[in-house]
Every structure is written in structure tokens, then in C-alpha cells.
Symmetry: C2
Subunit: 318 residues, 2 copies
């Protein structure tokens, strides 16, 4: 069983590092920190390397121990990738490439099993829910700290308990953590219920520019590097912007694009309703994700990127 | 025990009506319809009278049986008020006044016990959670239909499982209903995750007009009757607008005011963080509600209403 092998590798390793995907979200960060705390309960130490750590997740236990680069000499014995579908998206993947052994723990359907050991469950609504069951299997005591990290992933990746794919287990597990003293309303408020002033300014832009295309079935909006500069945006301040279009009545696909630094290229986020697989659309552009939430990087200006995407989306609409 | 007396009254009554508060929300409507279905399982019939029924709740079981006025001759034997803090806020309260017997089921801390029998639990995060425990006590079989109505109240009144006051029971109960086949993501999407085109247009106005006062601790915005006309707004299309200000980082009190028809008067909605009791503030203006979510009707134009409110809110800020 893969889980036994994973436990064995953790127990055998001396130098462990935990990595996750670029533009890390709550599931990536909560999962990485939970993994670190779990490894510690197994009597080992682990570095967590996350280059762009959003301010909104500073409240998490062990957040201060996050590193931007390894401070260690030589290579790691074991690298654990949390919540990342492929090697290319993995931030600081040189520490994965050069490790003696690699483990991938993920819930993306598009995961291409790039680790030596791969524990991937695409049915799980959050990578943190996989880690919860893993903790149980490893007989790790779920502390309030581990619970807080796991709950952060579950809350953010289910959009606050709202997406399809959520299970009775998710709610029962949440009840358990609430009994343990994990402050769920606080986590919700910090991760999903708070707009930074910069996020509010960007929201205003996104709403002003919102276009409804294809008879209201497609929503499109964007932000530029200039917008982010003017809003004093930090990493994470664009969170949730993609949902603004998705939540409009009648919209089946929401496109939100965000300029990549100074380049003429846009980070694309697609969200969809049942029936339109945006992961397949993003794969065409070298990206990926879930059937209803996926991303890619596309070259061009706003108009060009919009046209490239609309051409593919229209095929699904027929 | 009040619950036994309530059961007795339902069993003895022939003509039953269920009422709820003006501007009914998900808890008011879900609760009223669940109560009707529960009464039916006890072998009785009941009318539900809700004058302004929002389109977004049309999907609920029995929604088609909602009445705007009584079609019955004479008075009711028994009137059940669901989710309403006082007689004045009760829509169509003449059917309460003229009933032989009255029951009040509610979770508002400001409830003034205006029924013959009052079953009020201010600790419950939703009136529908009270009804759930009541159904259990009455040994009523929770059907998928009843579960859908109850879940609608729980989801909407907890802001989608996010507010303080949510309990492990809420999550365990949600897990149970999900196992019964209640489509929680669908209810969430319909009630909390969908903006009608009119709501989107009003959101745009609210964001454009958002003022941050008192060093960013108070958010203020408004919509006029004219805005609602231009947006083709229907009942319910203003839902969620009050939360836009509340969710901005650093905001302790969010004020959202909405013009009352053609009058120079505004329906005020206040939301607050821990420590500021907006129910007490609204009571000063003849309104009420919960400590962190309350409402009132105040005479005046936008500027005057804002000043009246700010005067009271500033006292709490000191």
C-alpha cells in the first residue's frame, strides 16, 4: 500500500522538504504546513519552501517557519510535493529534481504521477482532506494546529463548503475539528470573508470591465500589472476575482485573466458549470487543473487572449 | 415542556397558517415551508402566507403552494410565526392577531415572546436548526424535501457555514442531510452563489459608492429606489449587498441602506464584528435583530440617515 511506503520513506529520511504549486492557495499552504507538523509528530523535521507566501495566510501555525530558499547544504533525502498536478507547476522544483526520493500527494485529476510514490485521489474535494485521512492512517494525533492548517485547505478549496464534490465526510470531519477547538469562523473570515483594500480595488476593476458574451453564458474580465501596482496588491490579493463572473446568473464559463508581470502574457483562470471541462481547455494551452476550475498561461494582449480562449470555449458550447 | 404543548396545539387545530417576517430571507422561507411539510406529516394541512416571495427561492419544495393572502373563510385556529422577532415585523400579522392560538418559533435574541407559546433559542445559528431538533422531538421523518427547506435556512443564515455561532451539530446535521440526498452545492449555488443580473448591477452601484469612515472601521453604501428600477430588481435582488462592506479588511461595522419605495426613508442593515452590538443600535430606531446583524427603518435622505447612524455607532467605537 502506497501509504505504508510513504510512512517508511518519511521515517528513513533525514533531510525532508515540502513543496507546493506556484501562486499557492489555501489548500497548497494549509496542506504544506499540516504535512510539516505531521512529519514532526513522526519524529522528523522538514523545511517548507514557498517563494510567494500570501499575507492572508500569515495567521497559520508555523507560517513563520516557511522558507523562500533552502538554507541547507546539499540535497534533500526526500521531497514531498503537496497539491501540485505536475512538475512544471511545482515552485522551486529544483529541490524535487535533486532529491533522492520524491512523494506526490494530490487531488488534481490532471496529476501526471511525477513522483517516485504518488498518492493521488481526484475524488477528494481538497488535498487537505487526503492529508486528514493520511494522518488517521499514520495514527497521528490531530492537534488544534494541524486541524487549523487542514481546515484552511478544506474551506478554501471547497469555496467555503459550496462546491460539488464535497462529501458527508467533509462535514463530519469539520464538526470534529470544531469540537477540537479549531476556530472555523475565524479561518473562514480570514481566508474567504476578508477582502484586503487592494482586493477591493481590484474587485471594482473586474466588475467595471465585466463582459457577458455568448448570450450571457460566458463572463470575461481582466486585470493588468498596472492595476495591481495602483492597488498596492500583494501576492494573494487577486484571490476570488475569478468567482465574480462565475456567480452571475446564467454564466456557464467564467474567464478571468491577469497579466503576468510586465510581459504580454496572461495567467488565465477558468471556472465552469457542469458539462464544460475547463481542464481540457487549459490543457490545450499547456495548463491544467480540475474539470470545473483550471488555469493556463497564454501569450498575447487582452483581446488576443480572449479570442484564443473564446474559440475553444465556443466548441464546447455547440 | 413547550414542545409537547406545541405538538398538542398542532394536533388539535383544524385551520393552521404559517407566517414569517417581512423581506423574508432563506431562513424565514425555508423554515416556513419546512414547518408546513412537518405539519403535513402530523396529519394536518397548513397555509403558508408570504406576500413578497423572492424568485431565488422558487426552487424549494412546496414553493408553489405559498399564498399571498388567505383564501380561507373565517379565522385560523392556529398561527405559527417562524423566524420573526416581534409582532410588528410579522408579514400579514392580522392572521396572527385574529387566530385562536399562536405559536412563535424563533432564534432572535431580541424576540419579545409575543405568542401564546414561544419556542425561542437565541443560541441557534438558524431558525431552521431549531425546526430540525423539533422534527426529531416530534419523531417526524426528515424527507429530502424537508431537508432541502431546512438546509436552505441553515446555509443562508450562517452565511454559508461561516458565521460565529455555528456549532458541530450544524455540520453533523449537514452531513446527515447530504447522505439523505439533499443537494447542498445546488442549494448553496442558488441561494448564496448566484447573483441575478439585477443583483450584479446593484453590486456595482454599492461598490462604486462605498465609503470607508472612521479610519476604515465603518463601511457605508446605499441604493435608491431609482437604482432598483433601473436594474429591474425583484424582491430578494438586494440580498448580500450588506456584506460587501463587511468583508473589507479592517471594517468593524458595515452600514447598507436601501430606500423604502418612494418615501424619504431607508431600510437600514447593519453588520458588525465582535464587540459592537448592532441590535442595540437598531433598537434605538425601533428595529432589532442579532448582535452582529440587525436592521431598522430610518426617516430621512441618504446623508441624514448616515449621520443618525454614525452618531450612535461612534459611541460604540469610543
Amino acid at each position: 500500500m502506497t501509504l505504508d511506503e510513504i510512512l517508511e520513506e518519511i521515517k528513513n529520511a533525514e533531510k525532508i522538504v515540502i513543496l507546493t504549486h506556484e501562486s499557492p492557495d489555501g489548500d497548497a499552504i494549509g496542506g504544506s504546513l499540516a504535512m510539516k507538523l505531521m512529519v514532526e509528530q513522526l519524529g522528523k523535521k522538514a523545511d517548507v519552501i514557498i517563494p510567494e507566501y500570501p499575507r492572508m495566510f500569515q495567521f497559520l501555525p508555523s507560517a513563520k517557519e516557511i522558507k523562500i530558499e533552502s538554507e541547507m547544504e546539499g540535497n534533500y533525502d526526500l521531497t514531498i510535493s503537496v497539491d501540485c498536478a505536475n512538475f512544471k507547476r511545482l515552485a522551486k522544483n529544483e529541490y524535487f529534481e535533486n532529491a533522492k526520493k520524491t512523494i506526490v500527494i494530490d487531488h488534481h485529476g490532471s496529476n501526471n504521477m511525477y513522483g517516485d510514490l504518488n498518492y493521488v485521489n481526484p475524488v477528494s474535494p481538497a488535498c487537505c482532506e487526503i492529508l486528514a485521512s493520511m494522518a488517521e492512517y499514520f495514527k497521528i494525533n490531530i492537534s488544534k494546529e494541524i486541524g487549523t492548517c487542514l481546515m484552511t485547505g478544506i474551506i478554501t478549496d471547497t469555496g467555503g463548503f459550496r462546491y460539488m464534490g464535497i462529501t458527508p465526510d467533509t462535514f463530519e470531519y469539520t464538526a470534529q475539528l470544531l469540537r477540537l477547538g479549531v476556530d472555523i469562523p475565524d479561518i473562514y473570515k480570514r481566508t474567504m470573508g476578508t477582502k484586503t483594500k487592494a482586493n477591493f480595488a481590484l474587485t471594482k476593476k473586474v466588475i467595471e470591465r465585466m463582459e457577458l458574451l455568448e448570450d450571457g453564458k460566458v463572463a470575461f474580465s481582466y486585470i493588468s500589472t498596472q492595476d495591481e501596482l495602483e492597488a498596492n496588491a500583494e501576492p494573494g490579493d487577486h484571490e476570488g476575482l475569478v468567482n465574480i463572473g462565475k456567480d452571475i446568473e446564467g454564466v456557464l464559463v467564467s474567464i478571468f485573466i491577469r497579466q503576468k508581470e510586465e510581459e504580454e502574457a496572461y495567467k488565465v483562470s477558468l471556472r465552469s458549470e457542469d458539462g464544460i471541462n475547463v481542464s481540457d481547455i487549459c490543457l490545450l494551452f499547456g495548463g491544467g487543473g480540475h474539470a470545473r476550475a483550471a488555469g493556463a498561461l497564454i501569450q498575447g494582449n487582452v483581446q488576443q487572449v480572449k479570442e484564443k480562449l473564446m474559440k475553444e470555449i465556443k466548441k464546447w458550447m455547440e
